[in-house]
């Protein structure tokens, strides 16, 4: 055990820098803040109802037999192209009377520096039950 401790101390001593010869005085300090943002940004560019950009929550009222839309734009600010795929889940209410469908649902190839607008269309049948229906939206690339 003693031999082990001595060995560790010896290795530690060898690995220590020779601070006496390399001593330097710091004369300037600063900070650097680096923010890595997603190369593709999603923003609301129109549609019905109200959209909260902070929570990405869209709320809309619809009458039976009506249709409402949400328009979201993908902006590719990178130097690479991306295929951006919108998603909505579920695609319809359990009784199938409220449906939500994205345009370009299978994805859209967006070149570097380009944008593309996706439209979410929510449709209600005339006999849809009154109530509130929730959907989860997403974008993948």
């Amino acid at each position: 055990m003693k031999y082990l401790i001595l060995t560790i101390l010896a290795i530690t001593a060898i690995m220590l820098p020779t601070t006496g010869a390399m001593a330097a005085t710091e004369f300037w300090t600063g900070t650097a803040a680096v923010t890595v943002s997603d190369p593709v940004a999603i923003s609301n560019t129109g549609g019905d109802g109200t959209y909260d950009p902070g929570t990405h929550a869209w709320a809309v009222s619809i009458v039976g037999g009506g249709t409402k839309t949400l328009k979201m734009t993908a902006t590719n600010s990178s130097t690479s192209a991306y295929t951006v795929i919108p998603s909505v889940s579920p695609a319809s209410s359990t009784d199938g009377k409220i449906t939500a469908v994205w345009s370009n649902a299978t994805g859209k190839y967006i070149a570097a520096g380009a944008t593309w607008e996706y439209t979410l269309t929510v449709t209600s049948t005339a006999d849809a039950p009154l109530g509130t229906y929730g959907f989860t939206l997403g974008f993948s690339k």
Binding site: D38, V60, S61, I85, Y133, T136, G138, S140, K141
Partner: protein, 115 residues
């Protein structure tokens, strides 16, 4: 000291029991046709034909859409990204592109009120 000894034994046991990942991934039951737009085969008759797969399939579970009676046209699956299609006189191969993977980078919600 006893604690140190136990710790060393545990670490050593972990190193020993850690097994390398297999080089070959297991074959899935269902072969994803996603991203596959067409495949070719030359076996049997006709000599060559191109069609579009219509469903997920596994070995022995696919019937050619244009020739439903020719149930001998079974994909023989050897790995997830390689197919051998054929029957009778032989098989031909097709390697579809590996579907890209997509990562969700934005989530939101929609609340629809029917009134």
């Amino acid at each position: 000291m006893r604690f140190l000894l136990i710790l060393v034994i545990l670490v050593a046991a972990g190193c020993v029991t850690e097994k390398p990942q297999p080089a070959v991934q297991p074959i899935p039951e269902q072969v994803p046709w996603n991203g596959v737009t067409q495949y070719d085969y030359k076996a049997g008759a006709p000599d060559q034909h191109t069609t579009q797969p219509t469903e997920n399939t596994s070995e022995g579970g696919y019937t050619h859409p244009s020739y439903p009676s020719l149930d001998s046209y079974f994909p023989q699956v050897y790995n997830p990204h390689h197919f051998e299609v054929g029957g009778g006189g032989g098989y031909s191969t097709y390697t579809p592109p590996i579907p890209p993977t997509y990562t969700n980078f934005w989530t939101g919600s929609a609340t629809v009120t029917v009134q």
